[in-house]
């Protein structure tokens, strides 16, 4: 794993790799070099299997992290490339021509995170949701509980009690709480 990264390091801007396990490494790459690195990994280093492509919303840093995980079955190595995108301008580069199956992932990311991949087949078609008008649901600023409460009805009649408060009320309601 390390020597592959050494080879790549000479030509590309790699972040500090994180060796999660002997066979699994995470490394951040620049967006404009992603395609070249992926192609090289696929064609030269034997990372022929695109395990997954997904995103992580780091809303605090105003960034999306795209994770491209590629696997070399023969050497039993998995390399995950992280690409950071600006959250405001969430546009990624399609890799469906490298792995046709990536088109599905990109469709999902478009729908669930609102990250577009111009040029990816059918990327703007509805995938999982139907008639969705709210924020893309996997974004961190979409609150699923709030949405659910505003959209659907709970069965009424449920009340719960906090043991501490309940005991305060029943056992020592007249105790002057605190010296404040």
């Amino acid at each position: 794993m390390r020597h592959i990264l050494y080879r790549l390091k000479d030509r590309y801007h790699l972040g500090t790799p994180v060796f999660q396990r002997d066979d699994l490494c995470f490394v951040t790459v620049k967006r404009f070099e992603l395609r070249a690195i992926l192609t090289e990994l696929r064609d030269v280093e034997g990372f022929t299997h695109l395990t997954l492509l997904t995103a992580v919303d780091w809303i605090e840093e105003q960034q999306f992290q795209l994770t491209y995980m590629v696997n070399n079955r023969v050497a039993n190595l998995t390399l995950a490339l992280r690409v950071m995108l600006d959250r405001e301008d969430a546009t990624g580069d399609t890799i469906h021509d490298l792995w046709p199956t990536a088109a599905t992932y990109q469709r999902e990311l478009r729908e669930m995170f609102g990250i577009t991949f111009p040029g990816s087949p059918r990327v703007d078609e509805e995938f999982i949701l139907e008639g969705w008008t709210d924020l893309p649901p996997y974004r961190r600023d979409f609150d699923t509980l709030a949405y659910s409460q505003q959209t659907y009805n709970d069965r009424p009649g449920r009340v719960t009690h906090d043991p501490k408060t309940h005991m305060q009320k029943t056992l020592y309601a007249d105790y002057p709480k605190g010296a404040k």
Partner: protein, 230 residues
């Protein structure tokens, strides 16, 4: 609605545009004729459901109910998790057929819709359609926690929480998921209810049709079907 932070308030006004193929348009037929079509009107009958009247005589009605109870034909539409426990019921081990219960592939032949657990909004739309296509008298059974009060998807943005908001439910079976034996219990209980003449779900639907429709439309944002399709 409970207290929701302003930034999570949803905007209910956004319209979902009608799908292209469902828009009214001019079409040239193979023989060169030009015709206007409006798919939503042309392909469906829009009559509202009617309340199914009881038979004049109690004896006759009782006989009908006995017959109905003993031929529960289930629509083989696996809407959620619980569908996986249908297969054991259909096969010899649990053999629901001996109780007059069988599965049909099309709504036209079925009188019992089993909602097997959670319903995503997308499936709800299909389930409503399937339900409305079933001939009266018809029944709905809700399986598992999800149909009662949202179950483990109580905070999901994509599943309904109470099935009875959208469809009239005649029987619930608790469990997550309910075992085949519990399902059989549910069927037996449903039979009893029907025999007592209390299986009135379909009439309830007809009576409160507008309310059901309002509820359905509140969650199905791309309502691209007529209000009642049978």
């Amino acid at each position: 609605m409970k207290d929701v932070d302003d930034k999570f308030l949803k905007n209910p006004d956004t319209e979902v545009p009608l799908r292209e193929e469902l828009r009214p348009r001019k079409v040239t037929t193979p023989d060169g004729q030009e015709i206007d079509i409006d798919p939503l009107r042309d392909y469906f009958c829009e009559a509202k459901p009617k309340v199914h009247p009881k038979a004049y005589s109690k004896i006759v009605e009782d006989f009908y109910n006995w017959a109905r109870a003993n031929s529960l034909w289930i629509l083989g539409f696996g809407t959620g998790c619980g569908a996986i426990e249908m297969r054991p019921l259909m096969t010899p081990r649990f053999d629901a057929y001996r109780y007059g219960i069988q599965w049909r592939p099309t709504p036209r032949q079925a009188n019992l819709l089993v909602i097997s657990g959670y319903l995503s909004v997308k499936t709800l739309k299909r389930a409503i359609r399937a339900y409305e296509q079933m001939p009266q008298p018809k029944y709905v059974m809700g399986l598992g926690s999800c149909t009662i009060n949202g179950g483990m998807y109580w905070d999901s943005y994509n599943t309904i929480k109470r099935l009875d908001d959208y469809l009239p439910v005649d029987m619930y079976v608790a469990g997550c998921m309910p075992r085949p034996e519990a399902l059989l219990h549910g069927f037996m209980e449903l039979k009893r209810v029907i025999k007592e003449g209390k299986g009135e779900g379909a009439n309830l639907y007809a009576e409160n049709f507008d309310q059901y429709k309002a509820n359905q439309k509140a969650v199905i944002r791309d309502w691209d079907m007529p209000d009642y399709n049978w």
